[in-house]
Each structure stands twice: as structure tokens, then as C-alpha cells.
């Protein structure tokens, strides 16, 4: 469970936000979500892909995400996740919260 030093760990609590943001693109299965997050962050933000699943479970329980089994273009069975209305609302809140924190951090860093 140790992570190599070349990888950056996620800021705690941001995985949910990234997942929700990714899902605004449309219904995706777990692997696609993981790939999307890695690709967009240019592989800087790398998480153990498995930790995506507890996060998805958590989001479903909170009602921000729902899931449904479907078929991939290659005909395999896969679970597709969709963001709900309240998930979008939550995403908005999380982004503004995140922006506020980043702003604060930047201010602190510049002053130092």
C-alpha cells in the first residue's frame, strides 16, 4: 500500500470531486473513470485504481451517483455510473470549496 515517491498523492477528499467531475461527461464504467482522471492530470495525480471503488460506493450511498449494468461496445458486461442532480449540486459546492482552499493556500505561499 506504500506509494512510490514519483507519484503525487491526491489531496485528501478530492477523489470524490474528481469522480463527480468526470461523470459530468456522461455514464462511464469504473475503468473509464480511472483512465480519465489519470489522463487529464497527465499522470501526476495517480491513485491506486482500486480505491476508486470504495469512493463510488460512498457516492452511491449519498445518492450523488447511481449505477446500472450495461454492455461495453465490445459486448462485455460492465457497471456504468451516472451523476445525479444532487451529485451535480454537490460537485458545484465542492469545486467552490476547493477553489476557496486553493486561493487561501496560494495566498499563504506567495507571502512566504
Amino acid at each position: 500500500m506504500s506509494k512510490s515517491s514519483s507519484r503525487r498523492e491526491l489531496v485528501p477528499g478530492t477523489l470524490d470531486m474528481l469522480v463527480l467531475h468526470t461523470l459530468t461527461l456522461g455514464a462511464l464504467h469504473g475503468y473509464a473513470i480511472a483512465q480519465h482522471i489519470e489522463r487529464l492530470s497527465e499522470e501526476v495525480l495517480r491513485v491506486e485504481q482500486g480505491s476508486l471503488y470504495p469512493a463510488l460506493e460512498r457516492l452511491q450511498r449519498q445518492g450523488f451517483v447511481t449505477s446500472k449494468w450495461g454492455e461495453t461496445p465490445t459486448g462485455r458486461r460492465a457497471r456504468y455510473y451516472t451523476i445525479t442532480t444532487s451529485g451535480r449540486k454537490q460537485l458545484g459546492e465542492e469545486i467552490s470549496e476547493f477553489d476557496r482552499s486553493m486561493l487561501a493556500i496560494n495566498r499563504v505561499m506567495r507571502r512566504a
Binding site: 469504473g30 491506486e48 471503488y53 460506493e57 450511498r61 450523488f64 447511481t66 442532480t85
Partner: protein
């Protein structure tokens, strides 16, 4: 909407746990497959392992996801319960034994403690029952007697007594003939005044109690009946109110029903007005001190010592006013009503409560042991789960659920068992356990027993879980591989638990042994007569036709002649108070020429007998002669005493030829108290009068014709006692149909003497068999405990045993190693138990007869039994150990 989506998801997880798991597996497999396809590595295997690296531990993430899914308590519990049933299915013997042990512990404790609590500690159905006392007059010598009605009326008039009593009331008891349709039956009646009901403070079950108006001589005759009579004879029909019943040929109207359990005096099944009592002249006598009770209600805050103090000046004044009756009777004694109703059953109930408490402790120890053993066996499983990422809390919670479920299953079964036992106990005759018919399972007791078993289950279930998960996972896995985690201290704990079990079992066995020995010795005490083939019939002739002494005497002679005619009857005799019926009457005894040697009152039994009594009873003479037919025909001048009387008043000498003076003792006759002078002509061997564990009282016998008693007991020696009743009944009614005798051998008039003697031992037998049963349970539980620990020890020491064998230990060496271990554990328990048993036996000394806590016999037998049990319990493990193959054992698994 969102909340709904979330809940919908939770419900899906909860109700489709299997599908949820499968889905999760599939989803993760899909992820890995896809990722490995995307890798552009050398080969399929490398691609897959690279995908797995990127994914992280599948098991860990799965467990994490599950943890997320089971965020709700409900989900977790459902999961735990599933684990539980899976686990219990895997080891059903463990589950069954644990649940049964708990059920036994909880059930027995609850049942016995409910009975004890009810009979002993619960208040009677009277308001503030603690303040109700029964009142006696006391002599300086310590003798006690019931106060007469005129005395009680004097008390009622005394102003100073109102400061200590809320009321004093007099109750006259009598046996009356109740005619109900065709059936006639002798029942106990209490003649009371209206204030009786306000003093006891009960509420009528139905209708009303007697009121002051009912005490007026001109008022119609009314009665209150007992709850038991209402149920048994009238089927609990509410229309009983207003119904007319016939008591001693007088019609009475039923106006109320007493509540259940409120029967006081305990013999009473009907309460009616004292002012309408036919034998008014008797009640009005200052000399009458029998067949009555006087009860009082103490004012709040007044104890019996204060009340006795307040009564002293009044009693002193009465002693001066009525010297004949009251001189020397200047003290007053109080007995709490509860003690009078419950009697001497207290030591027995406390013994049972103690014994059952020991059984509960033992059951808890046994379940603790089982849970510890199971936890050890599962240490590896727990270590693996812990290593795979199950949190410590999660594992502990699972074991918690498991222990709790066992405790609840055991508790539920135990409750059912307790209800069953109490229902059985309620059917016991109340002569064995007073007021037992109202016993119900006590909720508080049940809760305590339940709590005890839950605490045990939790302590013994969770402690090993905490231990197992505390160790770093790698280490526990390795140790787990040899099947033992935390072995040292745990097996030590388990051995101590078994030692404690043995100690507890020893206490119970020794206690049971002492009770058995006491029973044996009591039953072996010679009665002084031969009860075999002996029956008795009580005859209470109507006063109208047999009221005069000579009429009664003539009737008894005719009855004896009639019974002698019955085929199979060998001998017939008469006596007024037969032994083992709990009845008797005392006479003062004055010995001529021995001033100051008079008997204390309440010491010498007065018996009126026929000349045939000695032969019928098969008693024997110690000296002198028995009554002849002449003594009966022309009575007077000749008395016979028993050995106890002879030894007490003529120690080392013969009483024969000495002259004594006694009193006429039938209070129903006008000549009551008249002196009777005579010479002692014989000494008869002692007969036990109350029971075999009570020494005989002094007795003096006179011819029945000297003072023909108003009623009598016919004693018949016949073949096949139980079948003789119909013929006896017919013969009695042949003499006079108004002497009506019920043919039912269970009716009050008939007694098989052997049954009556067995009845006197019934409480002793009851306590002995219950404690014996508890001891047997204890023995089985300890044997299970011992087997478990020894078998587990062998499993744990496989490698050591293998090494020993490889180094040349014989099968015998190995077996004795195992057996030695078991004997060591048993030895510790035995030493502990001996102290416990000695202390326990001191507590039950009141129950013991002719034996004591220091009697070595039960200890020796018990220690032998426990040794055999521990040998048996270690036999199988020892055999298994000695057959171990050294090489396999050393290699491990």
C-alpha cells in the same frame, strides 16, 4: 430524489448481499482485464501483474468498498448474522453445547429464584404485610399459647394499645361439614369479625367482605369463600355471589371471594361471622387457648419490641384480675404473619437458591471456556482476515454479534425452560411449598440471569478477538499457522476456569451428599411403631346426638366393633390425636411428693386411647403394663407414660407406682381443666409424634373412656390399606349414616399412615433431589469443560509430544503426561472446592440431621467421583496423544 437514490442503493445492498458481492467481483475483474489489455507489455502475464500493481490490493479495496457499503449498522449486523450462521453451521456441536449450557443456567436460575423470591421475599397479598403479626401470650418459662377471646376483647378496649396497633382481631378456627349437592366434605372455617378484613387489608377478588352489620346477631348468615374453593368447586363462576351453601347444616349466603394467596389462617377455605358461631359458650371462656389465632397490625414505625412493652402493664393487670387463667402469662410474643404462613421452609429455599447460583456460575464458566477454545481454534482465520484488511473493530464486532447471538439463543431457550419448570412447580401440592400455586416467572430474576450470561459470553468472546487482532498480522499469521494465538495465558485462563468448575461441582456434590446422608439418617430413625398396613379415619360425630361424654364413648366402642368385622382387618384402636398429623394437646403435670418439679405448660402431650392401641400400633412396653379391658370399662387411677417423660421426671428411676395429677383437656367440655389423679402403671417405648427429625415429647396416656373426646381417630391395621377405605366407610355409616365418610381415600378424613410419614419427609426429599439434580448438572458441565481443555492442550502440544516420542518417550509416558495434566487441574479445583463446600455446608447446617460440614464421607466420595470424571475426560485426548506419529507431529501441518 438524491436521498431516495441513496436509500434505494442501501436496500439493494442489504437484501441482495450475495449479488452485491458477485457484482463487485465482476466489476473489479472487468477493470483488471481491461487494464491488462491496454498495457503494451511483453506478455499476458506481465500485463496482468502490471494491471494488478496499478489497481492495488484487490482484497483490500474490496474490503474497503464493503466497509463503505456496510456503513450502516443494520447492514453490518445483517452481515454479522450471516457470518454467524455460517460459523455456527461449521461447528454445530459448539453452538448446541453453548446454547444448551446457557439455557440450563438461565432457566434453572430463573425458575428456582422466582420460586424462592415469591415464596420467601414477596409480600403476601395483604397491604403492608410486614406490619401484620400473629400474637401469643408467653409465660416466664418461655411457653406460648393463644390468647382467649375475652382477653383479646380486653385488649381491644385498651386505649394505650391504639398507639401501637392499628387493630387486633381474634379468629376462631373449626372443621365444618360443607354440603354441596350430593358431595359432603370437611373444610376449614374461620370465624371472624368484620375488622379482620380491614386489618389484613386485602381487596375482595369478587363481591364484598364481611361488614360490621354482618356481625349483628340478627343479621343473616353470610360467608366469604377462598379463591381456591371458588375455582375448584364453582369453576370461577361469578354467579357464586348470592349463592347459598350449607355449612354444618346452616345455610349461608356467599357474599365475596378472597383473593388468591390471601388465605389466612392457611387452613381456612371459608370466612364467616364469629357472632353466629354455634359454640359461643366455648369462645366466651377465658380458659380457651386453642383452635384460634389472634393477629394485629402494628402501627407504622412500631416494632414488636415496642408493642410488647406497651402490652406488659395490661397483661400484669389481667393476671391479677384473672389469676386462675392469667397468672404467670404476663408476656406477649409476636410472630410475623409471613413467618407463620411460610413456616420453616426458609432454610430449604435458601439452600436451593445457593445451589442454583452455583449452577449458573458453572454454566457461565463452561460457556466462557467454550468461547475461548473456539476463539483459539479460529485464531488463524481471524489473523488472515485481519491481514487482508478487515479492521480490528470489524472483527471484534463480528465476534461480539456471535457471542450476543449465542447468549440470546441460550436466554430464549432458558426462558422457555424456566416457564416450563415454574408451570411444573405450580402443580406441586402447597404442603411442600406454601403459596407455590401463584408463582410466575420473575422478570427481574430473568433479567439478572440473562445479563450474567451475556456478560460472560461477551467477555469470553471478545477478549480473545482483541488479543488475536492486537498482534501484528504477520506474527499472528505465523503463529496462527501452528493453530495457536496467545496460547500461554489463554490456556492458563481456560485451565483456571475448569479448576473453578471442579471446585463448584465439588461444593454441590458435597452439599447433595450431606443432604442425602441427612435424609437417610432421618428416614432410618425408628418410629416406635409399625406404619405398614395402618390406616386412620377421623370421626367427628354431630354434637346434637353425641355431645355427652358417655354418648361419644359408646359410639367409639360400637365403631371399633363394627370395623373389626371387616374381612382383612386385624386390629382396631382409637386415639384422639394421631402421630404425624401435627395435632396434639398439652396437659399440665403435677407429681405428688416432688414439689417444684411440675412440668412447664406446653410440654406433656395428653392422649386418650383404647386398650387395643398398643397392639394395633405394634408399639412396645419399656416397663410395667399397658391398659387392660378393665381399665377401659372402669377408667380412673391408671396412667401410662412414655420413656421420654419417665427419663425427664424420674431420671435413673422407675416412675411406676408414682402418683401424678393431670387436667381434663378437651376445651369443648364444661369440665375442662378438672384435675385427674392417678398412678403410673407402665412406661411405653417412645413414638415419634411430629416427624423423625424431632425428638419425641413427653406423653401421658389415659383410657379414652376417662375423658371421651368430642371427636376421635380410628386406627385400623388391615391388609391392603388403600383398598380398605370403601369397606371402612360403609361400616362407619352402618353404625350411623350421619357419620358420613367419603369413600375417597384422598379426602381429609382418611389417611394411609405410611403416606403421612412419607409426607413428613417430603420437604427433605424435595431439597435433596433438587440439589442432587443440580450436582449432576454440575458434574456433566465440568466433565465437558475438562475434556475441552485437555483435548485442546494435546492439540497445542503436538510438536512437543512428537519430540518427546522421537527422544524415546513411550506411549504410556505420553498418556500419563496428558492424564497428569488433567489431574493437576482437578486437584486445584478439589482443594478450592473443599474450602467452598465446608463454608457452604455451614450455611445449610439447619438442613442437616446428625451430620455436619466436617463429615469426611461426602468429601471422600466426591473427590473419588471427580477423579474418575477427570480420568474419563482425559482418556480420549490421552489416547490420541499416545498414538501421535512423531514425524508427522514434528513436521506440523
Amino acid at each position: 430524489m438524491s436521498r431516495l437514490d441513496g436509500w434505494r442503493h442501501r436496500v439493494r445492498v442489504l437484501f441482495g448481499p450475495g449479488r452485491y458481492e458477485r457484482d463487485l467481483d465482476e466489476e473489479m475483474r472487468f477493470h483488471l482485464d481491461l487494464d491488462s489489455v491496454q498495457q503494451r507489455g511483453a506478455g499476458e502475464r506481465e500485463n496482468m501483474s502490471s494491471a494488478r500493481r496499478r489497481f492495488g490490493s484487490v482484497a483490500y479495496h474490496k474490503e474497503e468498498t464493503r466497509r463503505m457499503a456496510g456503513f450502516d449498522l443494520v447492514d453490518h449486523t445483517a452481515q454479522d448474522v450471516r457470518h454467524l450462521f455460517r460459523g455456527l453451521r461449521r461447528s454445530p456441536a459448539f453452538a448446541v453445547i453453548a446454547v444448551l449450557t446457557l439455557a440450563l443456567g438461565i432457566g434453572l436460575t430463573t425458575a428456582v429464584m422466582s420460586i424462592v423470591d415469591h415464596v420467601l421475599l414477596h409480600s403476601l397479598p395483604f397491604r403492608d404485610a410486614d406490619r401484620l403479626v400473629s400474637v401469643f401470650e408467653r409465660q416466664d418459662g418461655g411457653a406460648a399459647r393463644a390468647p382467649s377471646y375475652p382477653t383479646v376483647q380486653d385488649w381491644q378496649r385498651e386505649e394505650p394499645l391504639r398507639a401501637v396497633f392499628d387493630g387486633v382481631t381474634f379468629i376462631r378456627g373449626d372443621a365444618v361439614l360443607l354440603a354441596n349437592g350430593d358431595s359432603r366434605e370437611i373444610i376449614g372455617a374461620a370465624y371472624v369479625t368484620a375488622d379482620f378484613f380491614t386489618i389484613v387489608g386485602a381487596r375482595p377478588e369478587l363481591g364484598r367482605f364481611l361488614l360490621a352489620d354482618d356481625d349483628a346477631p340478627s343479621a343473616p348468615d353470610v360467608a366469604v369463600i377462598a379463591h381456591s374453593m371458588w375455582i375448584e368447586k364453582y369453576g370461577g363462576d361469578p354467579r357464586i355471589i348470592g349463592r347459598r351453601i350449607s355449612v354444618d347444616s346452616t345455610p349461608l349466603t356467599v357474599v365475596g371471594v378472597m383473593p388468591a394467596g390471601a388465605s389466612y389462617p392457611t387452613f381456612a377455605t371459608i370466612w364467616t361471622s364469629l357472632s353466629h358461631y354455634k359454640k359461643q359458650d366455648q369462645v366466651a371462656k377465658r380458659g380457651l387457648h386453642a383452635d384460634s389465632r389472634t393477629i394485629a397490625r402494628l402501627r407504622p414505625g412500631i416494632d414488636s419490641a415496642r408493642a410488647a412493652l406497651a402490652m406488659r402493664p395490661i397483661e400484669s393487670r389481667l393476671a391479677i384480675e384473672y389469676p386462675v387463667d392469667q397468672a404467670r402469662w404476663t408476656g406477649v410474643g409476636f410472630l410475623p404473619l409471613r413467618d407463620e404462613i411460610i413456616g420453616n421452609i426458609r432454610p430449604m429455599l435458601l439452600t436451593l437458591a445457593g445451589a442454583v447460583g452455583v449452577v449458573l456460575l458453572l454454566a457461565c464458566a463452561n460457556v466462557g471456556n467454550l468461547l475461548l477454545a473456539r476463539a483459539s481454534a479460529r485464531a488463524r482465520e481471524l489473523a488472515v482476515r485481519s491481514a487482508l484488511g478487515a479492521s480490528r473493530g470489524r472483527i471484534v464486532r463480528q465476534l461480539f454479534t456471535e457471542s450476543l447471538a449465542l447468549a440470546f439463543l441460550g436466554g430464549a431457550l432458558g426462558t422457555a425452560f424456566a416457564i416450563f419448570t415454574v408451570t411444573l412447580a405450580r402443580k406441586l401440592p402447597s404442603s411442600r411449598l406454601p403459596r407455590v400455586e401463584e408463582v410466575a416467572v420473575d422478570g427481574r430474576v430473568l433479567a439478572i440471569a440473562f445479563a450474567a450470561s451475556i456478560v460472560t459470553a461477551l467477555l469470553c468472546g471478545i477478549w480473545p478477538a482483541l488479543r488475536a487482532t492486537r498482534a501484528t498480522s504477520g506474527a499472528s499469521l505465523r503463529i496462527g499457522a501452528s493453530g495457536s494465538v496467545g496460547t500461554r495465558s489463554e490456556s492458563k485462563l481456560r485451565r483456571s476456569l475448569v479448576a473453578v468448575q471442579f471446585a463448584l461441582a465439588l461444593m454441590l456434590l458435597v452439599g447433595a451428599g450431606l443432604l442425602l446422608e441427612s435424609f437417610r439418617r432421618v428416614a432410618a430413625v425408628p418410629l416406635g411403631f409399625d406404619p405398614h398396613d395402618l390406616v386412620t379415619v377421623r370421626i367427628a360425630p354431630p354434637m346434637s346426638r353425641y355431645g355427652k361424654p358417655e354418648q361419644a364413648a359408646a359410639l367409639y366402642a360400637r365403631l371399633m366393633d363394627a370395623l373389626r368385622e371387616i374381612p382383612g382387618v386385624q386390629d382396631v384402636a382409637t386415639i384422639q390425636h394421631f402421630p404425624f398429623t401435627g395435632s396434639g394437646i398439652y396437659t399440665p403435670l403435677k407429681i405428688d411428693g416432688l414439689a417444684g418439679q411440675d412440668s412447664a405448660s406446653g410440654e406433656v402431650f395428653y392422649r386418650t386411647v383404647s386398650d387395643t392401641y398398643l397392639k394395633t400400633m405394634k408399639m412396645s412396653m419399656a416397663a410395667g403394663r399397658w391398659f387392660s379391658a378393665d381399665d377401659i370399662r372402669t377408667p380412673g387411677g391408671s396412667f401410662i407414660v412414655n420413656e421420654t417423660l419417665a427419663k425427664r421426671y424420674w431420671p435413673g428411676q422407675s416412675p411406676i407406682g408414682h402418683r401424678v395429677t393431670i387436667h381434663r383437656s378437651s376445651q369443648a367440655r364444661p369440665d375442662f381443666g378438672q384435675p385427674l389423679e392417678g398412678t403410673i402403671v407402665g412406661v411405653v417405648a417412645d413414638v415419634h409424634q411430629a416427624s423423625q427429625d424431632v425428638a419425641p415429647n413427653p406423653e401421658i396416656f389415659v383410657p379414652y373412656t376417662l375423658e371421651p373426646w368430642p371427636w376421635t381417630t380410628l386406627v385400623v391395621r388391615t391388609r391392603d390399606a388403600a383398598r380398605a377405605f370403601p369397606a371402612i366407610g360403609r361400616a362407619v355409616m352402618g353404625v350411623d349414616p350421619s357419620l358420613w365418610v367419603n369413600n375417597d381415600p384422598t379426602s381429609a378424613g382418611f389417611r394411609v399412615v405410611e403416606d403421612q410419614i412419607a409426607q413428613s419427609l417430603v420437604q427433605r426429599r424435595f431439597a435433596m433431589s433438587l440439589v442432587g439434580g443440580f450436582a449432576a448438572c454440575a458434574l456433566v458441565l465440568s466433565a465437558i469443560g475438562m475434556y475441552g481443555v485437555i483435548a485442546y492442550g494435546v492439540e497445542q502440544r503436538r510438536r512437543e509430544i512428537g519430540v518427546r516420542k522421537a527422544l524415546g518417550a513411550t506411549d504410556g509416558n505420553v498418556a500419563s503426561l496428558v492424564v497428569g495434566e488433567s489431574l493437576r487441574v482437578a486437584g486445584v479445583g478439589v482443594v478450592l472446592g473443599c474450602f467452598g463446600a465446608w463454608a457452604g455446608a455451614r450455611l445449610i447446617r439447619g438442613m442437616l440431621f446428625d451430620t455436619g460440614p466436617g463429615d469426611p464421607a461426602p468429601y471422600v466420595v466426591t473427590i473419588l467421583v471427580l477423579t474418575v470424571v477427570s480420568l474419563l475426560a482425559s482418556y480420549v485426548p490421552a489416547r490420541r496423544a499416545s498414538r501421535l506419529d512423531a514425524t508427522i507431529a514434528i513436521r506440523g501441518d
